[in-house]
């Protein structure tokens, strides 16, 4: 089992993208105690925006802008129509409601865009290899590591240095007490949903660059792996969630490169067996503080 530099760079970039998705899912979970299963469909919608912008011949920056607009609009809509009325209900009901939304968005995509998918060719140049000291590395690998690092640093600043961030962290520790101390529920949840949407849009752009074939199930597999990663890391706080997302992205990148071709189809088996094993040893998450209360679902 030997790991090439290319595999390593690819695994790093996948880890970076998954870390962004993980923190996007984790932020909403923090304030709403809601696992948003429709996150993958948000990314799918963003990817379609990029793909159609490139079909219409828009420049790539316009495509990226359209992607942000679509994903943010859908996030806010989801918050207003689904999360808000269901906020006080059990986590199981909210989770299944996000299933329904995911199902719905996917069938809309099938009806509107067809099963076969569309190619986002405007992101093509990012897929070209770059020669770094004799090793060929895809540009997108480097770009996504850098973008992920910048986004995470900005997010950390927001969470620790601004009052919105402080409110968000307070709300994710104890929502009721935070409200009594003057934290506005709608504003905090709206903020978390918005940031989570921004992260989804960024992930959508980078995933489209990695894989320009946009289909109605685009991003679904990634979201499932990220969800496992988020729980693996520890869901209630942003940093463990991010680390969990990065770990699982990195691990699946390395495993995907290192497994012999006749076994690479069993990648999910290896990955999820590892996830189950880790959860059995540390049910609250790999990076969670000891003694953190388990979530009831």
């Amino acid at each position: 089992m030997s790991v090439s530099w290319q595999t390593l760079a690819d695994a790093l970039s996948l880890g970076g993208i998954y870390a962004l998705m993980a923190v996007g899912i984790g932020l909403v979970f923090g304030v709403l105690r809601l696992v948003n299963f429709a996150y993958g469909q948000l990314i799918m919608a963003g990817a379609y925006a990029v793909a159609y912008a490139s079909v219409w011949g828009w420049p790539s920056w316009a495509g990226i802008l359209l992607c942000f607009a679509v994903v943010l609009a859908l996030s806010v809509l989801m918050d207003r129509i689904v999360f808000r009325p269901l906020r006080t209900h059990s986590p199981a009901v909210m989770l299944v409601a996000t299933f329904a939304i995911a199902f719905l968005m996917q069938s809309i995509a099938v009806l509107a865009f067809g099963q076969l998918g569309t190619i986002a060719s405007s992101m093509g140049p990012l897929n070209q290899p770059w020669d770094v000291g004799g090793v060929e590395i895809r540009k997108i690998a480097i770009v996504s590591v850098v973008v992920a690092a910048i986004c995470l640093a900005l997010l950390q600043l927001l969470l620790t240095r601004t009052s919105v961030g402080l409110h968000m962290r307070a709300a994710s520790m104890d929502f009721r007490t935070a409200r009594m101390l003057g934290v506005r529920a709608n504003r905090v949840i709206g903020g978390a949903v918005l940031i989570s949407g921004l992260l989804a849009a960024v992930s959508a752009v980078m995933l489209t660059a990695r894989n320009p074939q946009v289909t109605p199930i685009f991003g679904l597999d990634d979201t499932i792996i990220v969800l496992a990663g988020v729980v693996l890391g520890g869901l209630t706080r942003p940093i463990p969630a991010t680390l969990g997302g990065f770990t699982i992205g990195f691990a699946s990148g390395i495993l995907g490169g290192a497994l012999p071709t006749n076994q690479s189809q069993y990648l999910p088996t290896f990955l999820f067996a590892a996830v189950i094993l880790v959860l059995l040893v540390r049910p609250n998450g790999l990076f969670a503080r000891a003694g953190a209360g388990a979530e009831r679902l």
Binding site: V93, A100, L104, I224, T269, I276, L280, N284, R296
Partner: protein, 331 residues
Amino acid sequence: MKKLHELIAPVALVLGTALLGLVVSSALQTYFLDTLIKVAIVVALYVFIGNSGVLSFGHISFVALGVWTAGVLTVPTAERAAIMPGLAGFLRHATAGNVQSLFLAAFAGLVFAFVAGLPLMRLSGLAAGIATFGVLEIVNNVLRYYDKIGPGLNAFSSVPETTGIWQATIGALVCVVVAFAYQRSRFGRQLRATREDPAAASAAGISIYRQRLLAFAVSGALAGLAGGLYVHLLPVEIDSLYLDVTFITLAMLVVGGSGSLLGAVVGALAIGGLDSFLSASENGVDLFGWHLNLPTGTAELTVGVVMAVILIVRPSGITGGRELSLAWMRR
């Protein structure tokens, strides 16, 4: 057994569906059979999720295992080499009759759920959800690619199509009655107590782990049975028993009301009926003199909208998680 009258409504609904299925044309009957199997699956889900309050995403893997068991054993040996060329060992020759294969499917579900539950039932909350999801991923992944034990990506063709209206109805009824007997037994009551208040239940001497494990195994057996019925209905591809079925069956349970057996049956029939009707309409159907022909994809779209609306308007499900009891009717 007290409160036996609570069994009336779910059984009547299943029988009513079966009667409707008897009078329609044979082309439409398939939809009724499919819905009856959905009832069996959702009732299996209910036995664990409804009574324990813990979500499981792994049950469709027990269904898949039932499909595999009944499927592999009933493909005629002469055709096995053509359908499953990679098959190894005793699987090349072992055979089972129709009813026998259904029992074996249920048994496979029971054993696998018990073994998987041994470690997994120690988890709760989201960790349990993701771990059961991992079981689904692994079973799906292995059955899909490991062609030494089955057809891999191909369908289980040539399986005798013995699941008619009788077997489907009896299968769904068996699931309903087993679920009812379990929920009224001391084990079911103990598990429901752990759902309502884990701390108090533990203090009263109930082992949460054991009760959950028992329910997991029972519901695994019912799910396996449903899988056996399914593979005898039509040539199933293992790959089709994955995310979509997991979501739709979970949604059926929650939409019906996950707290009661009646809710499981109502949810499966309501969503299953709607989905069947719209899918049939996509192929064109004559209804009261109108010819209905909907574009492909309408079924998923409408079902998604209906599920979302019901959850938003009535989050505790259509039945509100209650059984239909005599006292309720008198009120």
